[in-house]
């Protein structure tokens, strides 16, 4: 016992007793004090490592792993307890997660839970964590808590209020003189949720929707649908698409054209955040205004951001994940930081206390300051809308420098102005 306390990084005796007491009270196991001191803090999660969401899931996981290694290199938490991750593959499927999270909670008895990447695998575990009164750090799911109302849910994603995403894109379009909107969406979960808010925002602003189509999954060829869209001569084209389709849509746009009427094009295209896709698309990306979560612009560097990407870039090669990793990885790291700060401040693993702290404070992370609203989403949206500029073909490294994706929104992170119309911006 004394041996442990006399370790250089240990905390004061009084603090230790308080901590241990809290840990003892909070622990579902009733682990004894000594064991709690030595045992690692285990964080459990499922992560899509196969199936459609695997690309994102793997990058996100690497971000979390880098945080784990950083925090352990600093000596762990709660006086020397190392952080350990317990991760299972959910195959990108909603059917797998209930059993996995039950295993994490009831068998592995992890101390804390992170949610899997994306909405579909997360949705089935929301009622479960609510019922058990457990803290859950969300990972880029969209509005999973709106119906459940769990007060211990905190989403790491920059979404903010549900309509802010569409609103920011339409703002940009309307400022550029847009008077009508076309809506092209994938007939899948995330895209349809985006489309719904886009319709609502457009209705509120009495912006006519001249084209509104949902294309089915696995659509091969977008030429004909782009042609139909072009025929309606829209000013603003809001696209909510998935990775394989985003590339197909941009190709078709390049080949067929969308017409001179279009002021801005893009908005909710998933896939254009991933290095491999961007490299493949190359110059086709130019002019597109699309959402993102992090970009290598000056305004986006916070404490620790650069160090994080140095580590990520090295490890991504080995892990065969997205070499850039802007979209998800830093937010995985930030999830860790949220928990780290909360544990440090609360001084225990008491879930209620951690949740209270997370709800009431603003937290500094490598992706900027994060504050939560009562529904567990960000208070303010930090979804970037950025325009691709001067991108050349087959070059991954170009995306590491600033200026390739100019941030137009939000105001405080802005790094340039919109070039419109779309056809002009493409050159």
């Amino acid at each position: 016992m004394s041996k442990k306390v006399s370790k250089p990084r240990s905390i004061s005796r009084r603090r230790l007793l308080a901590t241990a007491g809290a840990a003892l009270a909070a622990s579902p196991l009733g682990v004894d004090l000594l064991q709690a001191q030595q045992a690692p803090i285990r964080i459990g999660m499922s992560m899509p490592q196969t199936g459609g969401l695997a690309g994102g899931g793997k990058a996100s996981l690497l971000g979390i792993e880098i945080w784990r290694d950083d925090v352990n290199a600093k000596g762990g938490l709660l006086g020397g307890r190392k952080v350990e991750l317990v991760v299972y593959d959910d195959k990108s499927s909603a059917a797998e997660t209930p059993a996995i999270y039950s295993k994490l909670i009831d068998v592995d008895k992890v101390d804390l839970l992170f949610a899997p990447y994306a909405t579909v695998p997360t949705a089935p575990i929301m009622p479960m964590v609510k019922q058990r009164g457990l803290l859950l750090i969300g990972n880029f799911s969209f509005q999973v808590n709106s119906k459940i109302g769990h007060d211990m849910w905190f989403n790491n994603a920059p979404w903010g209020p549900p309509d802010s995403w569409a609103a920011s894109f339409l703002d940009i379009g309307q400022k550029a003189g847009g008077k009508s909107m076309a809506l092209l969406t994938a007939d899948q979960e995330f895209a349809q949720n985006l489309a719904k808010t886009a319709r609502e925002v457009a209705a509120k602003r009495t912006l006519p929707i001249v084209f509104d189509q949902a294309y089915p999954p696995n659509t091969v060829e977008f030429s004909s649908i782009i042609r139909a869209l072009k025929a309606t001569k829209p000013d603003i084209v809001y696209v909510a698409s998935y990775p394989p389709d985003s590339a197909g849509i941009l190709r078709a746009v390049n080949e067929i054209g969308v017409g001179d009427s279009v002021k801005v094009f893009g908005g909710g295209m998933v896939g254009l955040q991933f290095g491999a896709v961007m490299e493949n698309m190359g110059s086709l990306l130019n002019g597109v205004v699309n959402y993102n979560s992090w970009l290598p612009e000056k305004s986006m560097y916070f404490e620790g951001t650069k160090e994080f990407f140095d580590k990520y870039t090295k490890r991504a090669v080995e892990a065969k994940v997205d070499p850039l990793g802007y979209y998800l990885a830093p937010f995985g790291y930030a999830s860790g930081q949220l928990i780290e700060q909360a544990i440090k401040k609360v001084g225990s693993l008491d879930q209620k206390a951690l949740a209270k702290y997370l709800r009431e404070n603003t937290h500094n992370t490598i992706v900027g300051a994060i504050a939560f609203s009562p529904d567990g989403e960000r208070k303010e949206t930090a979804v970037l809308q950025a325009q691709f500029r001067g991108v050349v073909d087959k070059n991954m490294e170009q995306f590491r420098s600033s200026g390739k994706q100019v941030i137009l929104f939000p105001e405080n992170l802005k790094s340039g102005e919109l070039v419109a119309p779309f056809e002009a911006a493409r050159k």
Partner: protein
């Protein structure tokens, strides 16, 4: 036959009693979650074999039936807040109708044509659900469980027990069919449909019976999944995995006897649940692939066939 019947029903009773006791004694929730999934696949595999095994009509549309079961529940819950038994019964009724339609297809199509038609049917149904906004459409829908009914402590324990009941029901029906004139007729039809018809076997009626029963069971199995997941989206509910896994389980176990799919589902289902929480990576899919290939190559009649062969050899050795 009589003695077998007694053994079977006492086995079923012991099984149900054990399951019930487990829900009352075991506090840890994980066995119920994992067990639910395995029981669900046992029931699916048994139901599938009634058509796919006995009659030899390979149905690729397991996911269509399962998904329709899920969405029947979703609809009933969002529209009327219907209780679980009603969800399952309605699911079975809808499944029976779907099965009837499928049975009519067999009038014109056999062999691989039939299989392709079931794929087509799956895609058409999935697209319809995807476009049906009331049940969430492509965006998916979250549903809330009602409070659990006594004597169960948690909803998952209850679902686990309900699924065990469905398994017993499916197995009992499958066993009855195998030992009755229906089974013998299906067997004849499977070996040579034309010859069977010529010798006066009522092939259409038999096929319709098999399709309706198989369909009703698969839909009924899907119905409680809505409450298990408390979430439904077309991509997950109509996942191709249900079709492939069910087929794989039946083949690994063997389709010649009603117990084959049970064994296959236990072996493969348990392996998958185990792998999910151990190796947990793409290797998981690899194992399914390798198991499929190894079994169809090395044990053409499934585990049942292997066991019979071993027994046969031993008898020969003794003699």
């Amino acid at each position: 036959m009589k003695r077998n019947g007694v053994a079977f029903w006492s086995g079923a009773a012991v099984f149900l009693a054990a399951v019930f006791a487990m829900t009352q004694v075991v506090g840890n929730q994980y066995p119920f979650f994992a067990g639910y999934v395995i029981l669900q696949f046992i029931a699916l595999a048994v139901a599938w074999s009634i058509l796919g095994g006995y009659a030899g009509y390979v149905n690729f549309g397991t996911s269509a039936f399962f998904g329709v079961g899920v969405y029947t529940s979703v609809f009933l819950v969002s529209a009327f807040g219907a209780p679980l038994p009603l969800q399952i019964l309605t699911g079975a009724a809808v499944g029976a109708l779907m099965g009837f339609a499928l049975g009519l297809l067999t009038l014109r199509m056999q062999g691989i044509y039939f299989s392709i038609a079931t794929i087509a049917l799956t895609i058409i149904i999935e697209t319809t659900i995807t476009n049906w906004r009331y049940v969430g459409g492509a965006a998916g829908i979250q549903i809330q469980r009602p409070a659990v009914t006594a004597p169960f402590d948690s909803y998952v324990q209850m679902l686990f027990f309900v699924q065990a009941l469905l398994v017993v029901l499916a197995v009992a029906i499958s066993r009855y069919i195998q030992n009755s004139w229906i089974g013998r007729g299906l067997q004849a039809l499977r070996d040579d449909e034309l010859a069977a018809e010529c010798t006066g076997v009522p092939t259409l009626r038999l096929k319709l019976i098999a399709c309706v029963i198989s369909g009703a069971l698969m839909c009924a199995v899907g119905a409680p999944a809505a409450m298990y997941l408390q979430y439904a989206d077309p991509g997950s509910a109509f996942n191709l995995n249900y079709s492939v896994t069910t087929l794989a389980m039946s083949l690994i176990g063997g389709t010649a006897h009603w117990s084959g799919p049970i064994i296959g589902a236990i072996v493969l289902g348990t392996t998958q649940q185990f792998l999910t929480v151990t190796i947990s990576s793409e290797v998981n899919v690899l194992v399914l692939g390798v198991m499929l290939v190894l079994f169809v190559v090395g044990a053409p009649e499934g585990i049942i066939g292997l066991v019979r062969k071993l027994r046969g050899n031993r008898k020969e050795g003794e003699a």
